[in-house]
């Protein structure tokens, strides 16, 4: 039994232990399909679906599955959900499915999903597993949006280009910073987001130190 509260299980995946930005899992889709917001959103939804579906199922059958074959069974479950998602996307949003290409199928090896099954869903009741999955899925979606927005706005000057809601965000004759929608831009954008997060974290620890040990910090500053 987990010794965390339901709220903790839910909120943990959203930011504090964000799968992409903090745990550095599932980088493949975060870098590959975030060159446009539409692609990022659809991928986020597909991953969310697979994550919640498989967490639910794994938690339901956890008592029935012998330990020796549990990884294989989890992978089977995940692969089934991914195939369903792939076929559904191909039928209903064929253009985006084409843009996402092989990466929908690669959700299967997205470490986030197997990690959640192994670490949580296989050891916790259905309700908690669902909360955990939903929280992680939301966290993933947030990371995808962060990446996708920066890359599309800088690299194309638009948001949701190609969909009904597409609009030009940077007015005038903006010459798009094309590198951002290309592979190097994926690496660089994530790198810069990590720098920003790291800076905020550092500031927070600094402030906490000053708050809790003001004399010590002042003494250190004098000595330096």
């Amino acid at each position: 039994m987990s010794n965390t509260t339901p709220q903790q299980d839910f909120f943990r995946g959203i930011w504090r232990e964000n799968p992409v930005l903090i745990q550095m899992l599932g980088l493949c889709p975060a870098l590959a399909v975030t060159n446009s917001v539409a692609n990022a959103v659809v991928m986020g939804i597909a991953t969310f679906f697979v994550l919640t579906g498989s967490s639910l199922l794994v938690s339901l059958v956890k008592k029935l599955v012998p330990g020796e074959v549990r990884i294989s069974t989890y992978i089977l479950i995940i692969a089934t959900f991914v195939t369903v998602a792939d076929m559904t996307l191909e039928a209903f949003v064929p253009d985006i499915h084409k843009a996402l290409g092989a990466f929908v199928a690669l959700i299967v090896v997205n470490c986030i999903i197997l990690a959640r099954q192994e670490a949580f869903a296989s050891k916790n009741p259905v309700g908690r597993s669902l909360l955990d999955a939903v929280g992680t899925g939301i966290g993933f979606m947030i990371a995808m949006l962060m990446m996708g927005t920066v890359r599309e706005v800088l690299g194309n000057g638009t948001i949701l280009d190609g969909t009904r809601f597409g609009m030009k965000v940077i007015p005038g004759n903006y010459e798009p910073w094309v590198i951002f929608v290309l592979p190097p831009g994926g690496f660089l954008t994530l790198g810069f987001w990590l720098l920003i997060i790291s800076w905020f974290q550092k500031r927070r620890t600094e402030r906490a130190r000053i708050r809790e040990w003001p004399e010590g910090v002042a003494a250190q500053k004098e000595a330096a």
């Binding site: 550095m24 980088l27 493949c28 870098l31 590959a32 294989s72 992978i75 089977l76 692969a79 089934t80 991914v82 195939t83 792939d86 076929m87 290409g101 092989a102 199928a105 690669l106 299967v108 090896v109 470490c111 197997l114 590198i179 290309l182 592979p183 190097p184 831009g185 994926g186 690496f187 660089l188 994530l190 790198g191 810069f192 990590l194 720098l195 790291s198 800076w199 550092k202």
Partner: protein, 193 residues
């Protein structure tokens, strides 16, 4: 024919590098330490497994999957997982020294999305047996190239004066971005004019 095969190999190796252009095989790429020998061994193990996986994927696509296309993903995963187990056992029996050197890396290769990615790309592009093998060779060589480059840069950067903010993953990603940018220079290498 040979020209096409060569194009497939070189394209997969540099122009559309598996790691730097398609973001496959990122786990080992991000985690590789500054030891070039390690990176090289991992890369070679990858090439080996990729070629075999390519053949298996071709076999599945040609003889079994036309009857049940919806089982494609599941069958690929099952085959890949079993493949890595078998390769590990075979290497252990055939060459214990090689096994000791590669040993810990082989299980890492299973979740390496490069292998599944290769199988899926190969399927989508309709490659035959020979084309698939050249694709795997090129892709694996590209992976090795990326791994070795990253390892050597990290080795040098260990001595460099990097701001504490950037140390760790942020630096790795920025290095990767620069490598990816450099590799973009290969575009147009193979276009006939």
């Amino acid at each position: 024919m040979m020209g096409d095969l060569l194009w497939i190999l070189l394209s997969a190796m540099v122009v559309n590098n598996f790691t730097l252009a398609y973001f496959l095989g990122l786990c080992p790429f991000m985690g590789v330490s500054g030891r070039i020998a390690t990176a090289l061994r991992l890369g070679l193990a990858d090439i080996f497994v990729l070629v075999i996986a390519s053949i298996c994927a071709w076999f599945l696509n040609t003889f079994i999957l036309p009857y049940a296309p919806f089982l494609r993903l599941i069958s690929f995963i099952v085959v890949i997982a079993s493949l890595v187990q078998i390769v590990e056992m075979v290497i252990k029996k055939v060459s214990p020294t090689l096994f000791r050197q590669l040993g810990i890396y082989l299980p890492l290769i299973t979740t390496n999305c490069a292998i599944l990615g290769l199988a899926i790309f190969q399927t989508n592009r309709g490659y035959g047996l020979l084309e698939g093998i050249f694709f795997a060779l090129g892709g694996g060589a590209g992976l090795t190239l990326a791994l070795v480059l990253m390892a050597s840069i990290r080795e040098s950067s260990e001595m460099a004066d990097v701001p504490s903010l950037a140390r760790g993953m942020a630096l790795v990603l920025i290095i990767a971005g620069s490598l990816s940018l450099a590799f973009m220079g290969f575009a147009g290498l193979l276009s006939a004019s």
